[in-house]
Symmetry: C2
Subunit: 442 residues, 2 copies
């Protein structure tokens, strides 16, 4: 569309001319390539690298084959990458070879680290006896895990696998490699140690940490945001700010990232957003709607009555520890009978108005308030699809009702776009926004 | 552990000596690299490529930067890859450049395909007028999308973005490139067309489609499976079978993939599994526990009473369309008061035995049977953590109770390993297995 600064779905504008330190991630694991396991590590590492000011350029994934891992490391080197994080391949068996391959890549010979061996043996001795495992095989495994490249920083182990920070031989322009285990919990624990090593800090010292601000809106299409950005660019200029827009579960997220020198420009852009979309902006400090609900409830209790979301909103709220402080529960009333029995909805009302109706949504919310003895309740009843739609109530039609113990209420009926899962996720988000507006006004 | 055939978590043994056709996937999108959007395309494409007999060697992800996309394509070529699938970068704006970059890579000049332009204009004319979009910008976008490499097969468009199959110039050993759009729905629609093109078939004709069998167990540690495989290898030999084991949400999945000539060997291995683990195997045909529950219920109704899983199991069951045929609902009773009020659990019992107890689990299940008028109900109450554990009931302690309307029951109390989310997911899976055993015996 002519300008280089137009925003499209989830993309970034404004390529920085300032040289950033380039980073890469190498994910090893046949189970990832074959789609048996979803890689949760590269998104997590991507956020950490951004916070530290790295430019993450390439993410690569391969099976547990030495030649493929080696090829990916060489590719990273060929692309001027200065920091590589690898994940996986640190286990005790013969095909866990990352430490060895990285050692070769960095031209560091392997040696048996006796201290590390003792630590690993101590960790496994406890449960191996209890579980009646084969001792000989275990010892061979421990020795393998204690074979590490010379001069590497040893991290953890968090499980039984140690992490490593391996630097290339002096004079080489190869990257520093952070070798991390595959299990996300272990990886995250070991990462904290990795960033504290002198080897890591030597690379990170060359980065410029960009400042960033996240702004969240609801109910604004991307084309409007693109227009606002175009106009801002014409009037003031977007400069080298990186602006990523992302539609997620019905909300619009805009992340503005920039060199510290560009702070005034970012503030001006935020002012432009506020001038145009003040009614739609609900967060300017990164706080999610879920976090806002918890904060705004301030000890008061919330209950849900879910039909088409089938427990999705309850599950979303209870994913976070401590949710029992405010969350009473959800009546997932998937059948008409359940709505009548569990939430006391008038069966004749369901028959006459339909389960997806403003009237039933209201009785569901009121029923949930009572059944769970809550201060606030919100109901969701709709047609998630792919079947069940009609001319009057097409797929995506969802009725919401929020009610408070002191007798106030909010209602909404809308048609949400997307497939079944999209409708369910967007409905859960909209329900939170309706509750939010009810709490804010109390 | 000596042998090359030992299985560890999610890894593959038995490297095939038969040359397979190598494939790669290039995911483009700043929103993926920056972890704003989860890549759902590469897992989907991985399955399709495996079904067609390709060996997926490398998956790479980069931002919407031409030089990075180009570097990844060249990397694929350097690795002897014969088929590359790209996703993303096919939109109408200036930074959607995949078609152009792939054209250059394959040494095919771009030209304006007038037929395609007319089709794209027809698609967007309808909604663009309705939405009051900028006509001039739209036309520029359409012309960009109709600029395609010469001699490429044109696919779709499913949205407004056409897909492409681009072959290299004759005599070149570069890969054939399937250019696919980013939105998963569009990608999947266009893939069906891609595999039918002469250009695609020319590559696919060289693959050997491997046969595969999936077997699923519960309650067996990976070390036992490794031992069985070692023994089988010593006695009969694993040959060139590829065996991937994967622990997922508490279940053990074993996928055996092999050349059609090795069918007898795979059958012998399955027999060995059956000899040893008949009590633990619940599926030998790929059917999941969720699918089995639906089949075994055969029209009868299921209800849930969830505490520590917070609606996760209800959400899992209702993710699939048609779940209303058997699923009545779930009482997500996160507070003690809710257990008493909604499920009729004796408040004094909760006070004396605790919310996480066999006794309360039983009353929850019986309460759900009644409240939802169901044929079967299962309850889950436990300590998901990270807080709330005690010496008597450490984090991970979960009590289950399954009850049927005809008065039968099953109960279980276990300590599940892992973090909060792991405990929740494993508890949901265990609950389904308990219901399954109750239904099977009826």
């Amino acid at each position: 569309m002519g300008s280089d600064q137009v925003v499209t779905d989830g993309e970034v504008r404004g390529v920085s001319a300032r040289a950033q330190v380039r980073a890469g991630i190498v994910i090893t694991g046949t189970e990832v390539v074959t789609a048996r396991i979803v890689d949760r590590n590269s998104p997590w590492l991507s956020e950490r690298l951004r916070e530290l000011g790295f430019d993450l350029v390439h993410v690569t994934i391969c099976r547990d084959r030495p030649e493929d891992i080696r090829a990916q490391l060489e590719f990273m080197h060929s692309q001027g990458i200065e920091l590589v994080c690898t994940t996986g391949g640190l286990g005790p068996t013969a095909d866990d070879m990352t430490a060895q391959i990285v050692g070769e890549f960095c031209e560091r010979e392997l040696f048996l680290d006796e201290d590390l061996l003792a630590r690993i043996n101590e960790i496994i001795s406890g449960f191996s006896v209890r579980m009646n495992w084969d001792q000989e095989a275990l010892e061979a495994g421990s020795r393998k895990q204690a074979l590490v490249p010379r001069d590497a920083a040893i991290l953890g182990p968090a499980g039984t696998a140690p992490g490593l920070v391996v630097t290339p031989r002096e004079g080489s322009d190869k990257p520093t490699v952070v070798v991390l285990p595959g299990p996300p919990g272990e990886l995250q624990a070991i990462w904290k140690e990795a960033v504290e090593t002198a080897e890591f800090k030597a690379v990170a010292a060359r980065t410029v940490v960009f400042e960033e601000q996240m702004i969240r809106m609801i109910g604004i299409p991307e084309s409007d945001i693109a227009k606002t950005l175009r106009e801002f660019d014409e009037q003031r200029g977007l400069g080298e700010m990186e602006i990523t827009t992302c539609l997620r579960k019905g909300e619009m997220e805009i992340l503005v990232s920039h060199h510290p020198d560009d702070r005034a420009r970012r503030e001006a852009l935020m002012q432009a957003f506020n001038d145009e979309y003040s009614h739609a902006i609900f967060s300017e400090n990164g706080e999610t709607i879920d976090e806002q609900i918890v904060r705004l409830l301030n000890g008061r209790k919330l209950a849900l009555a879910e039909s088409c979301t089938g427990g999705l909103l309850a599950e979303r709220l209870t994913e976070t520890p401590g949710s029992s402080k405010y969350f009473q529960g959800s009546a997932v009333t998937y059948s008409d009978a359940a709505k009548a029995q569990v939430l006391n909805v008038d069966a004749e009302l369901i028959a006459s108005k339909g389960a997806v109706s403003e009237e039933v949504a209201k009785e569901m919310a009121v029923g949930a308030l009572g059944a769970f003895d809550a201060d606030f309740a919100v109901s969701i009843t709709g047609v998630a699809g792919p079947d069940g739609g009609s001319e009057e109530k097409p797929v995506g039609t969802v009725c919401f009702h929020a009610a408070s113990a002191d007798g106030r209420e909010r209602a909404l009926r809308i048609v949400l776009p997307g497939r079944r899962r999209d409708v369910q996720e967007r409905a859960a988000t909209v329900a939170l926004h309706i509750v939010r507006s009810l709490i804010v006004d109390s």
